[in-house]
């Protein structure tokens, strides 16, 4: 069975794009619009990897990562943060919260897949 990746980003175009990249590589994808939405989408699902944006309404990426790390069910899921080059500070905050991997926007599809492949197989 294909591994499932949760992509959390408030930008629909980025969600679609990442989702397409991942689906083409054989992963299953679930999308969340922001931290809060993602937490509800997560419930009861088996997720193998989370890709999440930093800047989002309702619950931002860092708050979301903290929530994930608090949960016994999800704390072992690897998390890739999507940051932009101007967000070094956010990246460090994200790392402190427990997201150890990151991909800098804008990225090429192969860069995204490469990062994912370092964490899980399809």
């Amino acid at each position: 069975m294909a591994k499932t990746i949760l992509i959390v980003d408030d930008s629909e175009s980025i969600r679609q794009l990442v989702s397409h990249i991942l689906k083409s590589a054989g992963y299953d994808v679930i999308e969340g619009e922001d931290g809060k939405d993602a937490l509800t989408k997560l419930a009861g699902q088996k997720i193998h990897l989370i890709i999440c944006d930093v800047n989002m309404p309702n619950m931002d990426g860092i708050g979301f990562v903290k929530e994930i790390k608090k949960s016994d069910d999800y704390k072992f899921i690897p998390i890739i943060m999507l940051t932009t080059e101007s967000q070094e500070k956010k990246k460090l905050q994200g790392q402190a919260a427990g997201a150890k991997a990151w991909v800098v926007k804008p990225f090429r599809p192969d860069q995204m897949l490469n990062a994912v492949s370092k964490l899980i197989l399809p």
Partner: protein, 738 residues
């Protein structure tokens, strides 16, 4: 991205439009009222998202301009610059330019023309005043990348003969909790080379009682045969760097470097040395050489623990910062939260669903009819349950298309502001009923007529400030947009507190061009509504409500094509109200079915007032005087049998369906009344487009086709015929009835 980039680009374009719209709304709000951190955060985020997504599509010119806006908004958010009128103005202009960029570059795939480039440069200059360099972010980046490289000192000692890379891994104990799988990473190495050997060091595993199942205790020494660069190998462990000790030794490294490595590792030196010899990384000789070459500076184990502690310390510091930031954020009101959640669905799919539901309604009606004929009670019961469900499905399906009108209304904030500024008029826009819903197709099509009416009201309705003051009115004009549901239709009102229409001028002009018969005495309302007549909106005819581009007749035509009506009320000196009435949806109507001869016709139910029987005597009388007597009221009528030239003799008993449209009543004379039913409107083919009196068709449960009557045009015909008859009796008959 390769499969269909266009599809994603479309999403980006829609998204960018949405975000820019959101920014514009927030900016307008900032200009007018108080703000909180959350609003500015939303503003910043909107710009940031557009920039981020544009970057993904390689729309560099959008990214570069958005970057400046983002910078300025960032400083605004951090309270480094004050929010004031000029700043908001330049940001609004920048939003416009972004919109233009999205349209030209993303939608049309073209480059900006010179005018737009000049505008951009101008905007960049204006923004520059608010933007200062973001040097600090750069600084962090440099220091961070420096941190990544693990320094390897190469001082003295001979080269090791091994051709293999040597990788020494001591992962952070928290690595599992971070979601990294060390074994997976080691397996991943085989993607870039051949793993010659892996030795696992279990030294750090504590006694069983102290062992934590979530902690990672193992260390690895790996030999890798690979032609990859050090960078590539290092990248495999990119995400594991933090808190982990990862040493990568190129082939033929100096023995001293190995010694240093051994010393820096937490395990006992002797044991590691032996291990390296055992795996063939070092020869015994090389090891001894190396050990002798340098002085032993004993450094007992525990480095990694120490490092871990440091990191945790660092972590807790940042954690506090993060916590504080988060708390602040959750306190701030997020404007986005008000927005309901949406799923974007292709309009085509929705249309298809509604079309199918329509067919289902028809098929359901057919089944229902057959069940009733069959005298089979259980069957009748079950079909009636199905009909009820089908009706519910139909209602829900139609609701899917319903959109709040608020978004359309909000667009006018900007229009009112801009047009007002242009004309030097200060105007407040008051929006009410923004939550009223109507069909998406209607929303799309109502935008232009609304725009026209709003501009007209600002341009010609509301007087200049001086004039207003002179008239004793408040200096600031008020324009109201209101929407409300009213018995199966939606009413949209555009009202201003301006000068109102000039009744006499309109009347004079109307008489000149023969719109009003000489003898007729129209009411005020009839006169005002003349401005919707074709050919009436030529300039200088009506001073305070003349067209700009399209005339008012086009407005009415557009609205009529949506099965809507438009009416105008005006009071001199007080203001003008234009009221648009639209059906809630275009797809399905509640109909009243009538029969003439063998044919069926459908009258939209909301226009039916009552049905009365037409007695033979009344009919005779009516033919002579060409109107019916409805309880003493004059009622013009249309004989549908004659109108549609239905073959066959008149029915023995005829009925009159009294319909109303735009305040005028008329009777439709039919043979049979067949009752109410709901039906899906099927548009008529082009070939029928010139037929008067029919607006569409529908398929009955029996499979027959029934025509949907165009009541407005039938009423007009009836009324016109009646007035012709009346005029015939007048001496000077030069009028042209419409």
């Amino acid at each position: 991205m390769s499969a269909n980039p266009n599809q994603f680009l479309q999403t980006f374009i829609a998204e960018a439009h949405e975000r820019l719209q959101e920014m514009e709304e927030i900016l307008m709000h900032l200009e007018n009222g108080p703000h909180d951190a959350g609003t500015i955060d939303s503003l910043f985020r909107a710009a940031h998202t557009v920039k981020g997504s544009a970057g993904m599509f390689r729309l560099d010119s959008i990214v570069s301009f958005a970057h400046i806006i983002e910078d300025v908004l960032g400083r605004m958010r951090d309270s480094e610059i004050e929010i004031e009128g000029d700043l908001v103005a330049v940001l609004l202009d920048s939003c416009d330019h972004m919109l233009h960029l999205v349209e030209v570059i993303a939608e049309q795939g073209e480059q900006l023309d010179d005018a737009a480039l000049a505008r951009e440069n101008e905007l960049r200059k204006r923004l520059k005043a608010y933007q200062t360099g973001n040097g600090d972010a750069q600084g962090t980046r440099v220091s961070l990348s420096a941190e990544k490289d693990i320094p390897l000192t190469a001082s003295g000692g001979g080269e090791v003969s091994s051709d293999n890379w040597h990788i020494s891994l001591r992962f952070a104990q928290s690595v599992l909790k971070e979601g990294l799988d060390p074994l997976y990473l080691i397996r991943y190495l085989s993607n870039i080379g051949e793993v010659i050997s892996v030795t696992t060091l279990a030294d750090a595993i504590p006694a069983a009682a102290e062992m934590n199942a979530e902690t990672f205790y193992l260390g690895f020494e790996i030999d890798l045969k690979s032609s990859a660069s050090k960078e590539t190998i290092s990248e495999v462990f990119e995400f594991a760097h933090q808190g982990s000790m990862i040493h990568i030794m190129p082939p033929h490294s100096k023995t001293t470097q190995y010694i240093e490595l051994i010393r820096s590792l937490p395990e006992e030196e002797a044991r590691l040395g032996e291990l390296l010899v055992a795996t063939g990384t070092l020869t015994q000789h090389e090891l001894e050489d190396g050990l002798n070459a340098q002085q032993k500076s004993a450094q007992p184990g525990g480095t990694s623990k120490l490092l871990g502690e440091i990191l945790i310390d660092q972590g807790s510091v940042t954690q506090e910062v993060v916590q504080a930031a988060l708390e602040k954020q959750s306190q701030a009101k997020d404007t986005k939260t008000k927005e309901s959640r949406f799923i974007r669905v292709q309009a085509g799919k929705l249309d298809e669903l509604i079309n199918l539901v329509g067919e289902l309604v028809i098929a359901g009606a057919g089944a229902n009819m057959l069940a009733h004929l069959s005298n089979n009670t259980p069957l009748q019961e079950s079909t009636s349950v199905i009909s009820r469900l089908v009706e519910e499905i139909r209602d829900s399906a139609l609701k899917l298309r319903m959109v709040q009108i608020g978004e359309t209304f909000n667009r006018f904030n900007r229009v009112v502001r801009d047009v007002g500024r242009e004309l030097g008029k200060d105007i407040d826009l008051v929006i009410t009923g923004a939550e009223s819903e109507l069909d998406k197709t209607l929303i799309e099509k109502i935008g232009d007529p609304l725009m026209h009416l709003v501009r007209n009201a600002i341009d010609h309705g509301i007087e200049s400030a001086d004039k207003r003051v002179a008239l004793g009115k408040p200096e600031k004009g008020t324009l109201r947009l209101n929407a409300y549901h009213d018995s199966g239709s939606i009413a949209i009102e555009i009202s201003d507190d301006g000068a109102g229409l000039n009744r006499d001028k309109i009347l004079k002009k109307a008489r000149e061009i023969g719109l009003i018969p000489a003898g007729a005495m129209p009411t005020d309302q009839e006169i005002y509504n003349l401005i919707f007549e074709a050919g009436f909106s030529t300039a200088d005819t009506v001073t305070n409500l003349s067209g700009r581009g399209v005339g008012m007749d086009v407005v009415r035509r557009n609205i009529a094509s949506l099965r809507g009506t438009v009416q105008l009320d005006s009071e001199p000196g007080i203001g003008t109200t234009v009221r648009i009435r639209l059906p809630l949806t275009l797809a399905i109507i509640d109909g009243f079915r009538v029969g003439v001869g063998k044919s069926s016709y459908v009258v939209p139910l909301d226009m039916v007032i009552e049905c009365v029987e037409l007695s033979e005597a009344e009919r005779q009388a009516a033919n002579e005087r060409s109107y019916l007597n409805l309880r003493g009221e004059v009622l013009p009528f249309v004989l549908l049998r004659d109108h549609f030239e239905v073959a066959g003799a008149n029915a023995r008993r005829e009925n009159v369906v009294v319909v109303q449209y735009a305040g005028k009543k008329a009777g439709l004379v039919v043979d049979e009344l067949m009752g109410e039913f709901q039906t899906v409107i099927k548009p008529l083919g082009k070939i029928f487009s010139n037929l008067r009196g029919i607006s569409g068709s529908t398929i009955l449960g029996s499979g027959e086709v029934a025509l949907i009557l165009d009541v407005p045009s039938l009423v007009q015909q009836a009324v016109a015929r009646e007035s012709q008859q009346v005029l015939r009796k007048l001496p000077n008959n030069t009028a042209t009835a419409r």
